[in-house]
Symmetry: C2
Subunit: 262 residues, 2 copies
Amino acid sequence: MIGVFDSGLGGLTVVKELLQKLPNYKILYFGDTARTPYGTKSAETVTRYAIENTEFLLEKGAKLIVVACHTVSSTAIPVLKERFKGVPFFEVVTPSFKKALQLTRKKIIGLIGTRTTVESGIYQRLFAEVDPEIKLIANPAPLLVPLIEEGWLNKPETRKIVKKYLIPLKMRGIDTLILGCTHYPLIKKVIAEKAGKRIKLVDPSEEVAESVYRYLEENSKLKEELLPNGEPEIWVSDLTPNFEKLATLFLKRKVTLHRVTW
Amino acid sequence: MIGVFDSGLGGLTVVKELLQKLPNYKILYFGDTARTPYGTKSAETVTRYAIENTEFLLEKGAKLIVVACHTVSSTAIPVLKERFKGVPFFEVVTPSFKKALQLTRKKIIGLIGTRTTVESGIYQRLFAEVDPEIKLIANPAPLLVPLIEEGWLNKPETRKIVKKYLIPLKMRGIDTLILGCTHYPLIKKVIAEKAGKRIKLVDPSEEVAESVYRYLEENSKLKEELLPNGEPEIWVSDLTPNFEKLATLFLKRKVTLHRVTW
């Protein structure tokens, strides 16, 4: 089984990509809806939650963990790898960073994400290590998650707020934009339109699914262990009618949510 | 000591009113910033959190509890009263309901709040009990909390979204509007402007402070126990620079936040 977790239901955009690229594996998802969102909380608290979520997935039989949450990917990965030695971890930051590196011509890359992701400075560090000439222009976009969770995917208010968040990035001349939150693929069209044709978008959900796919192609032993196939199983720490609606929105198909009782 | 808790820092608007009306008491506040917000979560989960928050305040020496959170006030009060017998609880729903009853002439009352507050149906039940003629027109306004927490108190986007939420209420002819969330007093001016002069606003922070004041005037024994005076003490379950900024915004004065380590 492939374990995937996120602060809430946004990570189902990653599950959607995994199902497309890896249809032969059983996926176990955990969304921490009782403590969502993570993007406004401290790195310390986010790390504590990430450890608990990983323990849950491993106990349920996951052999490989995909961290679908950008906030966790930006703050907690070294602690997770240290604590759960031997477990392969995949996260959304590294593949997005690599893709942006491939795409940029002008070496001016934009990033939008939650406050905690942007303030972690992880992208800045990664780019500085490989090419000090690259400029990363980052802007926290904290209202996009609540707008998306309200289902306001193409409302005038959402379009206006997206535009507002992108202005400082466009003024600095970015040619590539990292969508630094797993919610954002749902408003990718609006973002693409407001960014304009000259800016290429990096979608972390696609990139992380691609990197899991390549890893499994090279690790046939693990690949065997991860089989057999089966319907994805979606667990949450809190359940409301609105969370059920959201899950369908993100995964683009009807699913049953199972509630964990901790 | 008077204990006050909320899902996050919005309840500091209640503390601000308490400090004005009851300057002689020590106030102990707990904001559950590690699990905020509550308004999108289920009644069951919110009740569990409310019990833990109350235990924290009682252990610290609180003798009276003010539930500053509208979501908790709408869903968890019977359980809290049953579990902590003998502790006087004050919440924001009952005094707001009473004030709205006094103010309305046309018997058409509006309510905006989080999804969980509105869906709890508590106001509907309260009004139906005293006067079946009263019509309550309720509209969840879930984007207001994130907008306020971003400090977008008077931005065009906020004004537009407030207007949008009020349209269905105005169309039904309300003459009184309950601000069903402790965050909303921060944008009271915008709400008043968009509601128009004919609609009277009910601010739960003022109403609950008034009801605590009256209760203590009538209970001189408890009043003695609650003294002495002292600076308000503010505890949180997670601490970030943004939470510190928010606390100052809500309380309208500089405060030190203490972090609980659970």
